[in-house]
Symmetry: C2
Subunit: 266 residues, 2 copies
């Protein structure tokens, strides 16, 4: 609120995202560049650097970007990784492979946290390798940290756009957690009624409510939606559901014994 405070900002997390560049090396398929741009924009990242892309600009990249055109238009295209990294103070490599002299290797969440720690006060590059063979040893040696997305050991093949999506997502979630955080809810241990049983119950409930004249045509959809939401929150087990249906059956018998309410057919 005063001048000196304005000169010494705390780590500004939205600003931090602006200090993160996504660097793609020798991308073969322009669609992957577009998908990366879309993933970036959806997660609040904006700075894309392309090292020797095979085909860019490209209509296919624009199509896959699906509206993230500004990311593509502002993308910096360079010939070498060193040009891409000039001015950066923290460089993170992504590679499924762990090679001879390996870097410190971290999970995406740990990586996102370290990147945001750095990006509050420095320029950070997050580097993705080629679709077919990732990053070379020489390129990984440019990095301070290597992130490993813990894929299925039997099928570690992650699409380039999907890898960018995962990392961009973790950066955004880490940013949001620093702004508030999310508590995990308690576990539930009931064996709930199946979806088919619930649909049969809703049908029975609906018929009974019409029968007793509670539902009128103008209101029934909204009321049924609210009843679904309530019973969805209850999540009855089979015994509880049979009690509820027993109540409906008895209500139906009572309604048949009485005269039909006149407003039903109105």
């Amino acid at each position: 609120m005063n001048d000196s405070a304005a000169k010494e900002p705390a780590i500004n997390v939205p600003l931090a995202l602006d200090n993160i560049s996504i660097v793609l090396i020798n991308t073969t398929h322009p669609g992957n560049i577009g998908a990366a741009a879309r993933a970036m924009k959806a997660m609040g990242l904006s700075r894309l650097v392309l090292v020797g892309p095979a085909d860019f600009p490209s209509g296919h990249a624009t199509a896959l970007a699906s509206g993230a055109d500004d990311i593509l238009a502002n993308a910096r295209v360079v010939d070498t990784l060193d040009e891409a990294l000039a001015g950066c103070q923290f460089v993170v490599g992504t590679s499924a492979r762990v090679r001879g002299v390996s870097l410190e290797l971290v999970e995406p969440k740990v990586c996102a946290s370290q990147i945001l720690d750095e990006a509050g006060q420095a320029q950070v590059a997050l580097v993705f390798g080629r679709e077919d063979r990732g990053m070379t040893n020489e390129e990984l040696r440019r990095c301070h940290l290597q992130v490993h997305i813990p894929t299925n050991p039997d099928f570690s093949s992650l699409n380039l756009g999907a890898a960018v999506q995962v990392m961009a997502y973790e950066l955004r979630m880490t940013q949001l957690a620093r702004q508030g955080g999310v508590e995990l809810p308690k576990t539930k241990q009931m064996t709930h009624a199946s979806q088919e049983d619930m649909e049969r119950f809703y049908q029975h409930l609906y018929e009974t409510l019409v029968q007793i004249g509670f539902l009128e045509h103008s209101s029934h959809e909204k009321i049924m939606a609210k009843l679904r939401r309530m019973y969805g929150r209850i999540r009855p087990d089979r015994v509880e559901l049979s009690i509820l249906r027993g109540i409906l059956s008895e209500t139906g018998k009572f309604a048949k014994d009485s005269s039909a309410p006149s407003e039903e057919g109105s």
Copy 2:
């Protein structure tokens, strides 16, 4: 280890992933089905259900699956969402939109945790809507829970395959966290030397080590890689780097004053 224990297993997390179905409603682009299959397999999910896909099986889906052919081959294709959900006891909807009578709305991580709680003992469906307009109100009313991926408010457009990737990733990470977990590292507050300064230092270091006869041709690449890793771990600031370069300069002067070591040219 005995029969009664075998009858009462604790929640088995790898088994839990097998109890989760990914349900895609009326997918227009077969490439998105392939991308979803690849994302699923890379994260250890296997059960795909397609509700009235526009084009399936499709060569484009197979191409984008990039080896996750078994997921496509085993995909269950049905006409209605109710068929897809038959046998399921917990249904989660994904939608960027929040409508009139809204479900309980949770973040992906909370959602993944609830799904894994349920999937240890029940069948769970995670439902994704159409590329252009997501899920209908009628479809969301089939769900117990709605997950919202917190995208950039100014650009919430997430590709269908990317949305499947994010949720499959969170399910896998939650599974892995339950099997061990990851601690976040401490933050660093130094202003580090830039990448260009570090490259100049490595070049200076390399030349000096050759000059003093420390490096021989057969070993220099591996030793330089290890030196890079060590100095990368140090991450010197500019002052520290100038000290290191001063040492190199003085070493170089000493080496020039002495006779060149004979083994350098061998």
